[in-house]
């Protein structure tokens, strides 16, 4: 298993750089993870989504889909694509220290 140093702490990551244990994550790590995804600055809007998906993950045990972020988190899909270009859920999940969202079948 690979490791990575984030906010001064060494933590386990998978081969795509997703944190292995969501509990290792702290808010200080988010800006560094965001840079890896090409997002230079995390705005309040970004944070709203990061906090929502962490909270939802804690409650439901799975990473919310884009539709759930829209319905329960109240963020229009268009905004999600602007904030986290290309793959919003994948990028937001990575920055929030969660695993890779389950692919589809």
């Amino acid at each position: 298993m690979a490791t990575k140093t984030l906010a001064g702490k060494t933590i386990e990551v998978n081969d795509e750089g997703f944190l292995v244990n969501p509990d290792d994550w702290t808010e200080e790590m988010a800006p560094e993870l965001a840079k890896e995804e090409g997002i230079d600055e995390l705005t309040d809007q970004h944070w709203k989504i990061i906090r929502f998906i962490r909270q939802d993950f804690k409650e439901k045990g799975q990473i919310p889909t884009i539709r759930r972020i829209k319905n329960a988190g109240g963020v229009p899909i268009k905004d999600l694509y602007q904030l986290f270009p290309e793959g919003p859920v994948k990028k937001a999940a990575k920055i929030a220290g969660l695993g890779k969202p389950q692919g589809c079948v």
Binding site: T65, R67, R68, N71, A72, I77, K78, L80, Y81, P85, E86, G87, Q102, G103, C104, V105
Partner: protein, 410 residues
């Protein structure tokens, strides 16, 4: 008298009624089945209608012909499932109490979820083929079309029968070739997936067929809206794709009544235990077929494998025995590849489609992850198997759980 209530008399609900009716004691259990439609649609047949291979009469039969004699069948829309009270309200005013509920209300297309999709061009130069009406309208359009750019778009995953869009482009390539206009038609498959299919080895294999047939593949495209006036399809990040003919596979959602009854997720699919098929929220509710939120394909073959396991678990539940955690996500799909040939894939939650022979290891007669004429005959025979064996709940010579015998790891 106790009641076992089945909601939805499509592929899965009909199979369950036919399996359970002969074994449940008549004096103890009343089986009741509810569906809003008189007609049973053979949905896999919709694929062939746009190309004039099948017509309406090949894909419809009266539902009642397939219900077992000792069950009560009610034709009415379901209004609400009141799980806390163990009862279901029908739109015709009836209220049904149940002891055990099986939900098999399937999934439907929801084109209204995409801005502009049902606007200007709907059923003029924008069609679906997941409904009989859509497939028939597309048939009329194709009869008189003399060429242009055809875009086939999967709006979002999951969709039922995830191989159907691929089959559609393969058949279209064949059809336009036969019509003598293939050189005048550009075919482009636009998908939110990173490849031609959900699983990597099959995606690569099927991708080669697209290339060989001169079908363009555009991946990672998340459709946001359609401009039906200017014939453009836009993604959420404002990429635009022009079309003359748009064949859409709209968002698929579980039945509205599931959402309304508070039993579903954001797409109205019901959270279900992926190995026992018991609802996660209510222990006297079981879910089967396209209505579940399982990470398996939504297909008739999957519903068939699930039915064998659910049958066992319903009996165990009734007898108070522990449920069997046996469903492994097994799917088995024939993929029509055009020109009288087909491909077959067999997979489950953990093992992606691999090459080999099926169902008899080393013998076949079908070949996995290969294009053969025999596989095409398998697909065409599936209609007969569906009406005559599958719906009646008969055992097929294929195990419910996937087998590795006869398969080769690469």
């Amino acid at each position: 008298m106790k009641r076992l209530l089945i909601l939805g008399g499509g592929t899965a609900g009909t199979m369950m009624a036919n399996k359970l009716a002969p074994v449940l004691e008549d004096s103890e259990w009343q089986i009741t089945l509810v569906d809003q439609e008189e007609t049973h649609y053979y949905q896999p047949g919709f694929l062939f209608i746009p190309f004039g291979i099948y017509n309406r009469n090949d894909v419809i039969k009266p539902k009642r012909d397939f219900f077992p004699p000792n069950t009560e069948a009610i034709i009415s829309p379901i209004e609400e499932i009141q799980a806390a009270e163990n009862r279901v309200k029908l739109t015709n005013g009836k209220v049904l109490k149940y002891d055990l509920l099986i939900i098999a209300t399937g999934s439907q297309i929801a084109p209204q979820e995409t801005e502009g999709l049902t606007g200007e061009g709907w059923h003029k130069n924008i069609f679906d083929f997941y409904t009989l009406k859509g497939a028939e309208s597309l048939r009329q359009f194709l009869k008189f079309w003399d060429g242009g750019k055809m875009v086939v778009n999967i709006v979002e995953m999951p969709i039922k029968c995830p191989v159907a869009p691929l089959e559609f482009v393969f058949l279209a390539d064949w059809y336009f070739t036969e019509q003598g206009i293939r050189d005048k038609v550009e075919i482009e498959l636009v998908t939110p997936l990173p490849g031609a299919f959900t699983k990597p080895i099959a995606a690569k294999f099927l991708g080669q067929f697209l290339e060989k047939k001169n079908i363009r593949l555009t991946t990672d495209f998340n459709a946001a809206r359609v401009d039906g006036v200017n014939n453009k399809l836009y993604s959420w990040d404002e990429k635009a794709i022009d079309y003359d003919l748009l064949v859409t596979i709209p968002t698929n959602m579980g039945a509205d009544v599931i959402g309304k009854s508070g039993l579903g997720d954001d797409l109205n699919f019901i959270p279900t235990d992926k190995h026992t098929l018991q609802s996660k929220a209510h222990e006297n509710i079981f879910v089967i077929g396209d209505a579940t939120d399982l990470p398996s394909s939504k297909a008739g073959s999957v519903a068939h494998f699930e039915a064998e396991i659910l049958f066992e678990n319903v009996l165990r539940y009734i007898e108070g025995r522990p449920l069997k955690s046996a469903f492994d996500g097994h799917a088995n799909c024939f993929i029509e590849s055009g020109f009288g040939k087909g491909i077959l894939i067999d997979f489950n939650y953990d093992v992606e489609p691999l090459p080999g022979k099926f169902p008899l290891p080393g013998v076949g007669p079908f070949s996995l992850l290969q294009e053969t004429r025999m596989n095409h005959w398998g697909k065409m025979t599936f209609r007969w198997v569906y009406w005559n064996l599958l719906l009646k709940g008969a055992e097929l010579p294929i195990e419910a759980q996937m087998s590795m015998a006869g398969k080769k790891r690469q």
